[in-house]
Symmetry: D2
Subunit: 427 residues, 4 copies
């Protein structure tokens, strides 16, 4: 009873502080009030935060009647004054509240953390989506690539930062400090975006291997006992891993800019580099195979249709789930040629034709939308448990040709996926 009273009072405190923060005309003193708000928010428990999100999502919306009046006025006279007044009326005051929170030391971080705890609850609280929309809008503006700093991560970086790289690597796990040290030797590079307001937090990082030619097998790249290659052999940069560190920045475009900035930086530093490519998993492949490898009619030519029918038959699709197959001993090394051919065909079809649809492969979608092209499909390229389970051991190289990415991006946005011949021949 008493505890409940306390809890409510502490939500009350945050609400009062929020109201004071937003009401202070002339915005004088916002900084100290914002600091208090951040502090009070951080002390709320899970239940109180829900009450706070209810408050945030309901108390700062524009007045529908006023908005309607302004919209009417703008419709009858689209003057500068009417537009300015309309914008001012329509923007939720929540955005101004967030901008004022952002004035406090640590304010930016607090908002990123707030959104991190908000996001997983959105599906159960539809009304909170307005909070998320406002946060996403502002964070996109503040984490604009023009405001980000690219830093190379090396063995001279602070241990504190390196520790976070180990922790956030989400594609090919880093097995402790010795593994990390290997990934920072001269023939491996790691770059991260940082923001001044979160100085010790990498936002997103990419790992690159400098190799003679396009890699087909990721195991070689992440082998911590491999010898360090000499500088003169660096011809190709393989982006073999890209990981986000801040879930509170979900949907804020970072990866695309990171890859291009890094490619540019490497090109300046290492004139022998001529090719920029990824070596990527196909995380949605087996799920699609298990669903029977569906494609919409429009995308399927007659020859492709025949090939896919044959492949489905050879693999017995949909049939058993991929994890069952693995449990029963399925692995790329023991596949027959027919099976291999069938899988490669379906993999190529999936990447080329399925990606443009909404449920397409997230990784494919990311790189193709960045303006990369489908370059090469690699058999038995990732034999890790995750690699077999999600991608049937396949990996794909997306090629970044810096002078063509813009054009490719436009083609992709119109539904066209550019493939190399080596991929085309599977389809």
């Amino acid at each position: 009873m008493f505890e409940k009273f306390n809890k409510e009072r502490s939500f009350e405190q945050v609400r009062e502080t929020a109201k004071r923060l937003i009401s202070a005309h002339g915005e004088s003193n916002a900084q100290s009030i914002a600091l208090k708000l951040v502090d009070q928010y951080e002390r709320l428990d899970a239940r109180q935060r829900q009450v706070f999100f209810d408050f945030l999502s309901s108390d700062f919306n524009p007045d529908p009647a006023k908005v309607k009046a302004m919209a009417d006025a703008y419709a009858s006279d689209p003057s500068a004054s009417n537009l300015i007044a309309l914008c001012r009326q329509t923007e939720p005051r929540r955005q101004e509240l967030l901008r004022r929170i952002n004035r406090a030391p640590g304010g930016t971080k607090a908002i990123v953390e707030m959104r991190k705890s908000l996001l997983p609850m959105l599906k159960d609280h539809d009304s909170w989506r307005v909070i998320d929309a406002d946060m996403h809008h502002l964070l996109s503006s503040w984490f604009n690539p023009g405001f980000l700093e690219l830093h190379q991560i090396t063995w001279e970086s602070p241990a504190e930062i390196l520790e976070k790289i180990i922790q956030h690597e989400s594609v090919h796990a880093i097995d402790g400090w010795d593994d990390l040290r290997r990934r920072l030797q001269p023939d491996r590079r790691c770059f991260a975006f940082f923001h001044r307001q979160l100085p010790k937090e990498p936002l997103i990082f990419v790992e690159v291997a400098l190799v003679p030619s396009i890699s087909r097998d990721v195991n070689v790249l992440i082998d911590k006992n491999s010898p360090v290659a000499e500088t003169k052999t660096f011809k190709t940069a393989i982006f073999y891993s890209i990981s986000n560190c801040q879930s509170g920045l979900r949907g804020v475009s970072l990866g695309n800019f990171l890859i291009k900035r890094v490619a540019q930086k490497l090109a300046e530093e290492i004139p022998t580099l001529k090719v920029y490519s990824t070596l990527s998993p196909i995380p949605g492949l087996t799920r699609w195979l298990e669903a029977g490898a569906p494609l919409e009619a429009a995308e399927v030519t007659a020859p492709l249709k025949r090939k896919m029918e044959e492949a489905r038959r050879v693999l017995g699709l949909p049939g058993r789930s991929w994890s069952e197959r693995i449990k029963e001993g399925w692995c790329p090394q023991t596949c027959s040629d027919r099976e291999q051919k069938a899988l490669m065909s379906l993999g190529a079809a999936y990447l080329k034709h399925y990606t443009t649809s909404r449920q397409g492969d997230a990784v494919a979608n990311f790189h193709l939308s960045n303006g990369a092209t489908l370059h090469q499909l690699n058999w038995a390229a990732d034999l890790s448990k995750k690699g077999l389970q999600q991608s049937a051991g396949l990996m794909v190289n997306y090629l970044y040709e810096l002078d063509k990415v813009e054009e490719q991006h436009e083609a992709f946005s119109k539904g066209k996926v550019t493939c190399s011949r080596s991929i085309e021949k599977f389809i």
Copy 2:
């Protein structure tokens, strides 16, 4: 003929680039396009920039009919979806264009410069106010005090920065490098806000004198031959000058935060400091005297009315302009006691009662709105040409009591100006 063609074509180029920048779905490649836009814009001549501003102000506004439809939908069902859709529809696409320009290296600076050239033309181009509104909106968000860095300016600062301090000091001009050096000695301090995107540009700076007690005379403070005071005499910090360096940031709140951050920083560094005050000009005073020292009836009590009548009579107001009086030899040192008393009374009335009105004194309005109080009116405190002409030689101390600024700010926002007794007694 040929030249005209060229010019138009080069505006055409910017327009095409702007359209490409805004249309690129998925925002891939924005950085290189933005860079091109900035470059092309900078090559436009004055006439072409006007065409560009016409384009910017007309082509990126929301569709009135669609906005109206969304506003209606939101009015009948104020759901999250409807609000999010409404906001997306209403925000001028110009803001997204500016955010994308901001991705280019130098993008922020380009926008600040663009606004700098836009502002003086607004009065003749009402429709461009939508550009200004969008720029102000975004710049306020990006130059949020949370994103600014406070740096002390010392004799160890880069000459490049110091040169800009000399150039932008707008209250008490700095007479070359020796004068500047004196203003950076231990008993004088200078602090500026910087932003990472404009690393060599002070945005705004404040100069502070550390003295035993509240200064009444600015000539002492800016005397470049004065001896340097010892640390143990530092009891009072006098903010004697504050200057903006970026006219493209007009209206973005910086000064208020600067003064408070500096006061806080000084308090931490110098525990003997107990008082924080300004020594400020009253730039609108003589203009008001020349207009007959008008006050609205509501503000004037009977005794004040009598005092002001008497003062107007003594000074012969409105009468000749102040510059004529100065030409004829008027100066504070030769005023009679009656004249002095009359001027002090009117000065106090002006500051206390006229400031809250729209045409009030800009400096008074700034400090009182920050939460400072009217502390002391000083006779013959600024005998420079500008000081006599604008302020009749008067200066005023605004007192910053850090633990009361919030309360004072609220009182001021309700129209109440807090004065010390020494000021009250003149009224």
Copy 3:
């Protein structure tokens, strides 16, 4: 045959380069020649280096006849000219050679490395001691504490540096990165001296624990799972480990200055700290016990003589070696009170009376010579294998009283060891 020829030729090269380096009058171009010398030296194999050291030790010595003539001249007329000429003649040209090597980038490091490989061979090559003497002379001048930089080692330090801390800790081994991280938490500190010419090389470092009172048990201090203490409990700084990283700097005084600089720095940062003490091993103790715990007659009073006789009897000294005793199960926890008392008595006698002799305990000698005092002898304080073997599990606190170190140091240099009463009572 052919290989031998090559080898000799490559020593020949170094010799030629060395001769050119030393002969270049006016010292023009020394930098490029020095660079070559360093490079050539580093390629020598072990055998060639010996030849090189023979050359270094024999070809750069002053001419005995000339020195004698100068000394005679100085003896008959001790004028400025004669002294200057004498000094110039006497100083081995080897020193000038080393100074010129030092001009090359990496020259300092090369000399430190050269000495590192020279030192272990000195006992078999008496003539090389002149090389060592010159190197020690110059390195002492260059690694003067005035030229050293004190840096705190934190979890934000480069991994590259931290790796070397792990590697060089020689008192209480660091068990990997997690152990290190614990030793860098707020209640533990680590400081190292660096030199600009060896920027990535800690020269010597000390580890400090901030605790409520003087620690008696090192196991508590180095427990990597211990909770981090709060700032307000920091009353006592325990220097629990000090390690040299550069064997090439042997004999160059670093530790004494490090401890005092760190104590001073901690005193400034943490005003609650009042006591500065070590918790140190007694590495020579058991060896002395095994030799029968000898003391010179002059040092032994009659009561002490009796006590020691009794203690030797109780412990059966000299008797079996300490490692045998440990093998047979000896450990402090199972000792009888009489044994404990006997060991504590002998430990105290060893520290107080044996230290001043040449063969005394190195650690005791180091701290007492720095001006610390013998404060407390701790039973069962280090139960590690090394602790039992060398120190019979005993540890001792040396107390640093900053305002008394100078006086204590002088007393010690006259043979007097200052003890607390708690130590005295054992003797």
Copy 4:
């Protein structure tokens, strides 16, 4: 009376401190004692410093009898032990005292300042030359180029540093901040050596102009209103001024290393640079002319002898002093062709033949000894007052060919000056 007593007592204090500093065995605590010594020394007045220098020069010399004994021992047995003992005995304890002073924060600077005040008094105090010898010996070791840091001086450098550049420029005076700014534009460069112990003090700096071809006229280079040249025109680096800032470092070799490091740095940064040359005054020329342009017989061939006779006759040498001639209107622009030819001949003879003698031109000696060659003699190249007075308006280019400097240096050290043909033809 009383004051004198005080003064003497304060010298007494320094003496006591110096004795304590040198006597503290084991060197414990040297840092705090050294700090006190520096502080006490700095408070001495001019008279007391003389007493202190007397003390320094007399109390720390090696004992002649002991040195003699050691020298005898070494002469009869040149063993390692005897050499080490001899060196230890011979080195004045003053050096150890200075090394210990150097341990104090600010110790290095104190020694440099001490020497600065010592140097001008040496001619009247022959016995103090032992102090100077020891200081020079140690400072040369500590200001070894391996320990110096090369920094470019730019308009972004701290004003505090720039101010010292203005103050110490001793070849072509810098006329205020605007002049300095011009000398730091992209086609002009300035580099200085710094030492970590004197962080805000440039030790020596060089100014460089980047031009299309070897400059003949310094007025063009130092014209503060000249337009800034474009990068693509940078073919030749002209070192047009080099100035020492620390007279306490006199005789410590810095300039030679500075020029070579800068040439190397420029070569790396600007691949179009092919030629490195100076444009230098000939400061001893007119003094030599006034003395009748003497040359030793050995250097003069018959044709040269005739040429010089003729030139002396044309110019009326020795005749009136150069300053009288200037007063009477002499200037290069109004010279007859015969006079010009005569002066160029004598100038060339002076540089080629007189430089190697002891009283030769300091600037010529510096560059030729560095390994540069005499490249070109320029008429009417420096029309400043100083240029006319010292060099009769002539200037000379010394050419630095980086791959030949070593060889040229050796030739010069054997008395051979390498000239271009354009110089040879004047002789």
